[in-house]
Every structure is written in structure tokens, then in C-alpha cells.
């Protein structure tokens, strides 16, 4: 199979879904390798402002690596990334956060010893400025700031319906709820672009439905752009505006969900047809 040709053919057949929408993030010819292992090979795609963009592909396809490149955790050897119209230099993850990129993780990465509330509040660290001397006496700017941020965090807690576990150390929560707290923490960063790495992995049907509803609501109510990695094709088809498909670190398809689903390369990749 020649992935590169397939990709070219597809992208000319499927120009960006909505021409009038602004491109929020543009990934161009990005390649990333670890020693000899090529995780990503020459991938290009864009994410439009306000869309839900799914990234799918078999295990080890390079999806997580792609998110890690986007949020500055990995630095690609080749290629450019354009964020809000400007070519981005090498950045650190915390800089990505202040630029408006937040994410959740495939394996929950919460602060286990901290309460739900503290975990979510931690997501607002970059926005808090009061100096240490005010913090020490819990007075003035420090107290005002804490209350102001607490209000925002409580809105998120209400939105995700996790009021009851506010004070619970997250290490004690069941997996499904941990995923939800992680989403809450990412939302607390008030991102422009939200990267979700398999937010529904390991959930039962009901939890998946809840999570899907939250994702759609975040997208529609807050206008947050979302990049979503997900293995459940039903969810992908329902939620996403456009889908990019990776396989062995290469892009093999890009387009509307129904187009991608019908694409022969994608079917082959998922069925494991020999290369």
C-alpha cells in the first residue's frame, strides 16, 4: 500500500470542510522519531476553529505522539506547526498551556494525593499571580484570587456533575470519574484547543454517553475546538466534524467521518491487511 499517494488523492478530493472557517492549528510535514523508531512520518493536517477533529488509527499509529507534538511535550525533527496564524517555535508544555492548549491523557495523569477540587484548581496555576507573602497570610490579592478562581472551578464542577466528589482524593475515585476530573482540570485551563487522548477508554456504555455529551457541550457552549483520539468508531462518527486517520505514523486518510469510513485504505488498516 502506498500511503503517501492515498493521502494526496484524498486531500485533493476533500479540501477543508468549511472554507470560511479560520485555521486554528496547522501541522505541516511533521516527522518525529525516537532513535530509530519513527513515530510520525511527514504528516500534515489542520484543525479549524470550533470543530471537533478526530484522530484515529490502530494501536501504535502515532496518535498520542501527535498530541505530544502539538502541546510541546515532544519536539519534531522536521516540519512546522502554525498556531493561530503564526509559525510556532519550539515551546515547552507550560507555554502551550498559556497559549491556550490543554489536554487529557490516555493513562489518567491526575495528582493522586490531591482532592478533586485541588486537581482542578491546579489547572488554573498559570493564571494565578498573587505573591507568596500575601499567600502566607491569606489576605488581600491572594484571597480574592483564590475565591475568583474557585468560582470558575465550581462552574466546571457543576457542568461536569461532579459536585459530590469535590473533596475526595482522586486516587480513591473509580476510573470513569477520574477521566471526568481530568477533563475538568483541562477545562479549568480555559483552552482554545482541547486535546483529548482516548477520553472514553475503559468506560461502560452509560459513562461513554455522559462523556460524549460533555464533549459536545464543551464544543458548542464554550466554542472550544477539540482534537479527539478515540477507538470507538461509533463515538467518532457521532461526534466529529472531520477525521484524520493515521497508520504506522503516516496519514492515510483525512475527511468527513462518512468519507473516511468508506475509504479503502482505512478499512485495510483496521482489518490489518498486509502491507
Amino acid at each position: 500500500m502506498n500511503a503517501f499517494v492515498a493521502d494526496k488523492a484524498l486531500s485533493s478530493a476533500n479540501p477543508s470542510a468549511d472554507e470560511d472557517r479560520e485555521v486554528l492549528l496547522n501541522v505541516e510535514n511533521v516527522s518525529l522519531s525516537f532513535g530509530g523508531v519513527k513515530a510520525i512520518t511527514d504528516i500534515s493536517f489542520d484543525i479549524l476553529k470550533g470543530e471537533i477533529r478526530a484522530i484515529i488509527g490502530p494501536n501504535g499509529a502515532g496518535k498520542t505522539s501527535m498530541l505530544n507534538v502539538i502541546n510541546g511535550f515532544y519536539h519534531p525533527q522536521e516540519g512546522t506547526i502554525t498556531w493561530q496564524g503564526k509559525v510556532r517555535n519550539k515551546i515547552k508544555p507550560h507555554e502551550a498551556v498559556s497559549q491556550g492548549i490543554a489536554r487529557t491523557f490516555q493513562n489518567v495523569a491526575l495528582f493522586k494525593g490531591m482532592s478533586t477540587l485541588d486537581n482542578i484548581m491546579a489547572g488554573r496555576s498559570t493564571r494565578m499571580k498573587a505573591n507568596i507573602f500575601f499567600q502566607m497570610i491569606w489576605y488581600g490579592a491572594a484571597m480574592r484570587e483564590e475565591i475568583e478562581h474557585r468560582k470558575r472551578v465550581e462552574d466546571i464542577i457543576d457542568f461536569l456533575e461532579i459536585q459530590a466528589i469535590r473533596r475526595t482524593p482522586v486516587g480513591k475515585l473509580p476510573y470513569g470519574l477520574q477521566k471526568r476530573v481530568e477533563l475538568a482540570r483541562a477545562l479549568a485551563m480555559e483552552p482554545e484547543l482541547l486535546l483529548l487522548d482516548e477520553p472514553m477508554a475503559g468506560m461502560n456504555l452509560e459513562e461513554k454517553e455522559d462523556m460524549s455529551r460533555f464533549i459536545v457541550d464543551v464544543n458548542q457552549e464554550f466554542g472550544t475546538t477539540i482534537a479527539l483520539i478515540e477507538h470507538d468508531m461509533g463515538v467518532v462518527m457521532d461526534l466529529s466534524d472531520r477525521v484524520v486517520v493515521l497508520d504506522y505514523g503516516k496519514k492515510i486518510a483525512d475527511g468527513r467521518p462518512e468519507e473516511v469510513q468508506a475509504n479503502q485504505n482505512v478499512i485495510d488498516a483496521y482489518l490489518g491487511v498486509a502491507h
Partner: protein, 358 residues
Amino acid sequence: MIFRTAGQFKTSYEADQALFPIKQDFYLVLGVLLLAYVVFPLTASEFAFKALLVPVLIYSLAALGLNILTGYCGQLSLGTAAFMGVGAYATYKFMSIFPEMNIFVAIFLSGFFSAAVGVAFGLPSLRIKGFYLAIATLAAQFFLVWLFEKWAWLYNYNASGAIEVSTSSVFGITVTGPTALPIVQYYCVLIVVTLVTWFAINLTRGRYGRMWKATRDMDIAAELVGIKLITAKLTAFAVSSYIVGIAGGLLVFFWKGAAEPNLFDIPLSFQILFIAIIGGLGSILGNYLGAILIVALPVVLNLLPNALGIPIDSATLEHLNVMIVGALIIAFLILEPHGLARFYAIIREKLILWPFPY
């Protein structure tokens, strides 16, 4: 019915974030403060001040400092005693250069010196963790004690190589030196410890506390939510060493009265670490519980021979003390890493729910 929270609803986030969200906690703390500020001073003997109360307070404070670094931020340090030494020597120099200086001002200023030294020795934490960091702090421990011995300016070129506390007074009351009354010194230490504890509670429940704990629980994730590890770690080193330095100043000026460099050697570092572990890493209360246990144990053991009517010589008692502490450390590390403070938390939780556990 002691811990009834029913009917206590919070109507603002301000109230919910208050120091004591539950009334009973407030009464409990009030009770402890009453004991410390009124009951003990009225009843304690000179021996109790010198052998129990003052040491408990000073060790608690040092353990609190260490706990911020190790319990809250997850950076193990074996150099606590050396940082106490920096605080003590800095206070000594302040008082010898400016004899009229208020001793409290000197101690709180000295904290900045230990904080700076702490940050300097904390720099390796940006690159290394765990065991290797512990070794780096151990290097600080050896280096600083060596410096206390060799740098004669630090001890004003005394022939003995020791520092000795001279008499000083605040508002006409003698607070340091041989003539200071134990009860006065106790109050001085108590006020400093109360104040610093309040600062520490505020810091740990706010932004810095969250940054430290996030760094401890998962440093990579902390970075990915926008926390700068360099800020989190170095502020933890700074605040921790500041508090530890103050504890060192108090140790020499309000308790020992004099000090040789080896006072700040490894055994003291370990003693503070043991207090923090037995009391509970990541807890403020634990430091006090741990210090009470470690300070009171040998005193209680010394009373044993008389109480039981069996003659046990003091060397045996000393060994017994070491063995019990050692056993406790191992037991806590294996069974309850959150220490004595955890027992209190469990009891408190049970009381809140009692009598309906569901």
C-alpha cells in the same frame, strides 16, 4: 455527637475556604492553643519547659520545614540539620554585629540566609530526583558542617570554636542568655511557632501548596498543566529552608544557649526526618504529633525504672529508645506512610459520620 456537621452549610466560597470549615475543628484548635498558651505555662516545671515543651516546639518547626519540601513537594532532603545551622550561625552573626538588634528580627532575617543556601543546594533537584537528590543534600550536610568548623569568622574566632548566646532583651524582658527564664523562652518559641504554622497552613492550602503537591504526585503531568517545575521545586526549597533556618536559630538561642558545629550534624537531620515520617509526610499536624512522640519517649523511658521499681541503667534506656524509634519508623513506613496524622484524620472522619456510617 462531637463532630456534628449537619446544619453547617456554606453560603460562600469564602466561608468554605475558611481556615476551619467545620466548627469543631475550630474549637479543637482553640483548645490546643489554650493548653499551650495558658495551661502549660501555669503548671509546667522548669524541667518540663526545658526537656519537653521547648524541644517539642522547636523540633516540630524543623519537621514542618522539612515536611514542606519532602512531604508536600516530594523532594527528599538529608541536610535539614545543616540548614538549621545556617539559620543559627546567621542569627549569631546578626546579634554579634548588631548587639541591639531585636532577637526576633534577627531570627526572621536569618531565615533568608538559610533559604538562599537551601535554594542553592536545591538546584540539582531540577535535574535529579529521589535517591540521587538525597545524596546531593547529604553533600550539603557535610559541606556546611565543615564550613561551620573551618570558617572562624562565623564563631567570632572563639578559641572553643563554639557559639555562645549572650543576654538580650525585648521590651525590657530578658529573653536569651543564661539569665532568661524558661517560661519566657517558652513563650518566645511558642509565638514564633504559632505564627510560622499559620503561614505554612496558608501556603499549603493555596496556589503554592497545589503546585508542590502536583510536583510530588506526578511531575510530568504538573508540567503539562502549566506548572513550572523550576518554580515549584525552588520555592519549596526556599520556604522549607527558611522555616528550618528559623528552627535552628530558636534551637540555639532559646534552648541550648550554645552550640558547636557538630550539633548540626547528621544525627539531627535524621531525627527531624524521623519526626516528619512518624508524624506523617504531607501533613502539618503530624509534625507536632511526631515531635511529641520523639521528645517524650526518652523522658518517659527514664521514669520507667523508678515507676517499675526495676533498676535499669541509663545506657540500656538509651538503647531501648533507639530501638523503639527504629521499630516505629519501619512500622510506619510499611503500614501507614501518612503517619500519626492519618490516625487523627481517620478518627475525625469517623466522628463526622458517627453514628450513621453511611
